[in-house]
Symmetry: C2
Subunit: 558 residues, 2 copies
């Protein structure tokens, strides 16, 4: 986030001012669906001066795209119209809230005279009330405002501050008439929160000395490190400390997995028993920006002794069971980078990737072969967007090459997120290859957005796992054969053509030989790629299979 020396809003309209400030904080593209009540926003976004307008097929998809964009760029924005638009985006906004992504939700509202007249107009409930939808958004944003010429200068600064401080979405509504009026007044950007210097010094010293006194220790770097833009500093701390690190599911790829200190994925008792044993046996575990969710902890099977856990949060540190507020992650990491003593030879073992499995050409595609192939397909610096369900749970345990990023929605876990999120990531990083790995049930939720890749000339590599239904649910439900786990049978590989994705490489593969061949072609394709991978209905990688065994502890339903 840039800090200007003062923001004079007076030469622009309300909407222009907001868009200009959003561009200042790194938002160069706004996803959305237009609507008559948001025309002033749409017009401003297509004027060529501010962030670029990226039209999507529907609002849920647009908001997921903004979420994916924010994962790459640090912040994102989605623009919808009143009622009918904004409500469709709510699930995605809630996902950004859960997963700590600052997404600006810009909403066009009816003009003030219509509101004041309680007009029974389209896109309302017909009851003359105009503040209900803002209220509906409140639980899933950290701040909201109705923007007026009078408040736009300071409210914009407040909402930017809140979005980045909490790493959560904010809601900005624009009455159509007010959006076009000249902004009045000015305001100063709000500085980032600061640490209490005395407490900071003491806590850093305590952490450093605790680590020094520990026989064994390790680090769990978490996704909030990435959200806060502190991956460089975190890497410095890892190197300065010489400590090994593991990552949990939501945290995958927060640090490069191709370095000596990386020991692999930690998922409680569900996977990698050696990683679990080591992490849980350490005298000190330094968790930085992690969340102990059900999936991160292997269905709550992880046993991290609170007495041995040091947890550095975004604005607080928990140490020996006590939480100290007023400590900024950036300051704590910067202090540790200087003070931490380097250890030698503390690494117990090193991470491995998935076993390489090569079945025979005409064999049906097993889960083992599939995830092995996929993991070998990933290149340095790729962005992998992996859908909730078995695909992310399989690929999440592959070791990534240098510089590759892995995104999943491991807490909110809303199927359908990945396809539009991959669009958002591709828009945010046009110079990196984006791999979308999704399941058929999830892809059906939000399939429309593959046409936007084509419209924008982006070249993702898309894999759709066609196993005829919701595999993760087959594993978790009482009866895997329940009809509700089956979905309509589509010809996925024919979709790009129907959706106007011209000249894409497409393939439908159901044997290992076909898969290998398609991957070889995809690796050298100069176009977008869409591969439908057909497997049996129950082919699942290990993590979800183990999750099934721990389902009772996940739901804590005993």
């Amino acid at each position: 986030m840039s800090h200007l020396s003062g923001v004079n809003a007076m030469s622009t309209t309300v909407i222009q001012h907001v868009l200009s400030r959003l561009r200042d904080v790194g938002i160069h593209d706004v996803f959305g669906v237009p609507g008559d009540l948001s025309f002033p926003l749409n017009d401003a976004l297509c004027s060529g001066n501010g962030p670029r307008w990226i039209g999507c097929s529907n609002e849920l998809n647009a908001a997921y795209a903004a979420d994916g964009y924010a994962r790459v760029k640090g912040a994102g924005a989605v623009c919808t119209t009143y009622g009918v638009g904004e409500l469709s985006a709510l699930n995605a906004i809630a996902g950004s809230y859960a997963e700590h992504l600052p997404v600006f939700h810009l909403v066009g509202m009816p003009p003030m005279p219509a509101q004041q007249a309680h007009s029974v107009m389209h896109h309302t409930l017909g009851n003359g009330e105009f503040d209900l939808f803002r209220q509906m958004s409140e639980p899933v944003v950290c701040a909201s405002a109705v923007m007026t010429p009078q408040n736009v200068a300071y409210e914009t600064e407040r909402l930017i501050y809140e979005a980045f401080h909490h790493l959560r979405p904010v809601y900005m509504a624009f009455p159509a008439d007010l959006a076009l009026q000249p902004a009045l007044g000015d305001a100063w950007p709000i500085g980032s929160a600061r640490s209490d210097p005395v407490l900071l010094k003491r806590v850093i010293e305590t952490i450093a000395s605790t680590l020094e006194g520990a026989r064994t220790a390790c680090i769990l770097p978490g996704f909030l490190v990435a959200r806060a833009g502190l991956q460089g500093l975190m890497q410095t701390v890892v190197q300065a400390s010489g400590l090994p690190f593991a990552t949990m599911f939501l945290d995958k790829s927060v640090l490069d997995e191709n370095q000596p200190g990386y020991i692999g994925m930690y998922a409680g008792r569900l996977m990698n028993e050696d990683v679990r044993e080591f992490v849980e046996s350490c005298d000190v575990v330094l968790a930085v920006g992690t969340l102990l969710t059900d999936l991160n902890t292997g269905a709550f099977s992880a046993r991290l002794d609170p007495a041995r856990l040091i947890s550095i949060g975004h604005h607080q540190v928990t140490l020996q069971g006590k939480t100290h507020l007023g400590l900024e992650m950036s300051d704590v990491l910067a202090g540790l980078a200087k003070q931490i003593k380097k250890r030698q030879n503390t690494i117990a073992f090193s991470a491995r990737t998935l076993e390489t499995v090569r079945d025979c050409d005409n064999d049906p595609i097993t889960a083992a072969a599939l995830y092995s192939c996929w993991s070998r397909f990933v290149r340095p610096d790729d962005i992998v967007v992996a859908e909730t369900g078995t695909v992310s749970m399989g690929l999440g345990f592959a070791q990534l090459p240098r510089g590759a990023s892995f995104y999943n929605q491991g807490l909110w876990a809303s199927i359908g997120w990945a396809t539009p999120a991959a669009l958002g990531a591709a828009v945010a990083a046009p110079d990196r290859r984006v791999l979308l790995v999704t399941g058929d049930g999830s892809h059906q939720v939000s399939v429309q957005e593959i046409s936007q890749f084509a419209r924008l000339g982006l070249k993702p590599v898309i894999f759709v796992l066609n196993n005829g239904g919701y595999l993760i649910e087959r594993l978790l439900s009482k009866n895997p054969a329940s009809g509700y786990n089956d979905i309509a049978r589509w010809r996925y590989a024919d979709l790009p053509h129907a959706l106007g994705c011209d000249d894409w490489m497409t393939a439908r593969v159901s044997t290992c030989g076909e898969l290998e061949l398609a991957l070889r072609r995809a690796a050298v394709a100069d176009s977008a790629v869409y591969i439908e991978v057909i497997t049996g209905p129950d082919e699942a990688p290990p993590f979800p299979l183990h999750l099934r065994d721990y389902a009772m502890s996940m739901y804590r339903a005993q």
Copy 2:
């Protein structure tokens, strides 16, 4: 709604009891997307005893389908999972609220022990709070409850009563563990509201004598008549009175348009000047279950003198500017049917349908030709589901054949509604032909659901108007050429194949000759039909063109 003589819930589980009562009130199909936190609901719906499970591609579409189903059957239901599922349905639920449709939203919740432990589990915001999503639904439902063994008997009766009394959605949440416990206790169905007999008698007499004393009078039967299931009674009143009637946009097809008393659509100054002149010149206008929304009133250009307006609502009557509560529409109509005096020769003129336009074979398809063709294609008893935007505004002014129903979402006006709503209507009325008429921009929002028609063996006739973007917005926005009004170019006619709709008749037509030929084939097809109609980007029927001229009064933005 059936009235049992008492509901003993004790031999069933919580979810079974609710489903059994929903079946009693006419809900034989429940649309939804499964999820692990709603497995008990999904299992019960696939058990074969209660309403049938209709799986959809996503929750927004499922809820729209329930809305379409409710338009035909009087009530509908949608089942979603916690958070990620229910929030995606909210826009559709809000639409059902605005348009007065009793839709039961059944939501699976985490089991109570997980809630009580503030578990940081998937599908939550990670903050340990479990009541937020119910709160988010509150503004768009008329009642809600978390169902437990103790409350299920009486809460079910209360929610059924509220849904039908207000003709609005209700929200029912089921903690996964409690859903499977035996229901305890019993409860009596709540009787419908009753009219105050003294007031009723007086008001009916006043209405009858006012009508008798009027030189000219007419009726505006409204959509609430259909929602309340009172079309038969309304028809009786029309016949008993001998009065002519017109309908407004939302109210289209509430009564058969093929009868002598029908004079056409009334849309303020925007259309049918002769209808407007007659309606507004009447000494008395009897409006029954109408809403004076922007679209119904021709962008508020209608001028209905309150002193001459008698307005019969669902639970009230407004007469000489005064509103009398405690009067049920059913009682008022029944009383009027008996007391009203029949007039002779009061019909000023009769309705006409769209002009028959036959352009030459090789001509591009004009709006005039298109809507003329479409209107002639409609058969008696067809269900026409017309999407928000120019297609409903065009076809809405065609006169329908006997028994045909016309559904649009004229108040909430959320694009994307029509495709899944047509699915819901087709499930509700498998013996009637369903025509879906939609625009390309709207179809992109919710296109997935065409695959469910095929899965269920339903045979709709689907028309997709391909004009490359949001035509209604081109008409209403400052600059019709604004980039945000363009959408990704799809090959619509290829979609059924890609989406697994085997053996459908498909066509792509761009000349009048091709259109006529496709319609002739469609009329005799023994399969579902999907026709992509290509027109120029600005081909619009009269109503939206006139709406553009009245845009300022619609937004009341002066």
